[in-house]
Amino acid sequence: MRRAVSAALDEIENLKRQLKAAADAVVAQETAIKAANDAIAANVKEREAADRTILLAQKAIDQQQSIIATYEKAIGTLQSMVDMAMKRIDKLEDKVDKANARAAKLGILLTIVGMATAVLKR
């Protein structure tokens, strides 16, 4: 009977040791699972932040391109203004040249008329 009780006490001791090891392993597993969940959640947040950053960067690039396009359009309009002004200047210069030519012809004509009048008056 004493041998049986001794064996039973040994068995209890063995089971307790195994149970403690299993409990430690379970706690460690649960801690690892919690750490894994925390890491996954943190990774999801990191990914969302990265996506948001990329979207904003893309938006900034699009806006920069839009500004460049607007400035290019303004430059084109200014260029057309300059072209218009140059054409106007050319036209006015042409008119001035023609007016000068007419004035010269008129001067010659008036000189001839004056000379003719003087001759006829004699």
């Binding site: 040994d10 209890i12 006829l120 008056k121």
Partner: protein, 154 residues
């Protein structure tokens, strides 16, 4: 000498020449006036066109200024988002490090458990064992009160 006698003194041919000259000069003056008016009209049209273009350029520059403000706002948000990302990445890396550490600990604990399972069970020699020994062992093992009572009361 009056003007009339002076005019009468000029011959008919000279009068004709003077008349034609006056006519030509008058036509030239009229033509010059017409040209001046035409030029003014051209200038006014040109000024109108230039003003229209200037307003167009002004609108485009205002649009560019608005776009620039929007871009500055976006760049500000981008900077904030980047800062957030850096912080969250640090947190994520830290959480990952903890996970790897815990995972390693978990593996070690499982290995320890398996080792415990595989270990040779305790076997106490039963030679010359007394009830008093059993009582001491039961107390040390934290056995139930009934068992301790049964072993220790004898």
């Amino acid at each position: 000498m009056s003007i009339k006698s002076t005019i009468d003194g000029i011959s008919g041919t000279t009068k004709a020449v003077l008349f034609v000259s006056a006519l030509i000069i008058s036509l030239i003056v009229i033509w010059a006036g017409f040209l001046g008016g035409w030029n003014k009209m051209g200038n006014a049209l040109f000024a109108h066109q230039i003003n229209a273009k200037q307003q167009e350029v002004q609108k485009e520059l205002e649009q560019a200024a608005r776009d620039k403000q929007a871009l500055q706002q976006t760049l500000f948000e981008l900077k904030q988002a980047k800062d957030d990302y850096v912080k969250l990445k640090e947190q994520s890396d830290a959480a990952q490090k903890i996970f790897f550490d815990q995972s390693k600990t978990s593996t070690e604990k499982v290995a320890e458990f398996k080792k415990t399972l595989d270990a040779a069970p305790a076997h106490t020699s039963t030679d010359n064992i007394t009830t008093n020994d059993l009582c001491t062992r039961a107390k040390a093992a934290g056995s139930s009160a009934e068992l301790i009572s049964a072993l220790c009361s004898q």
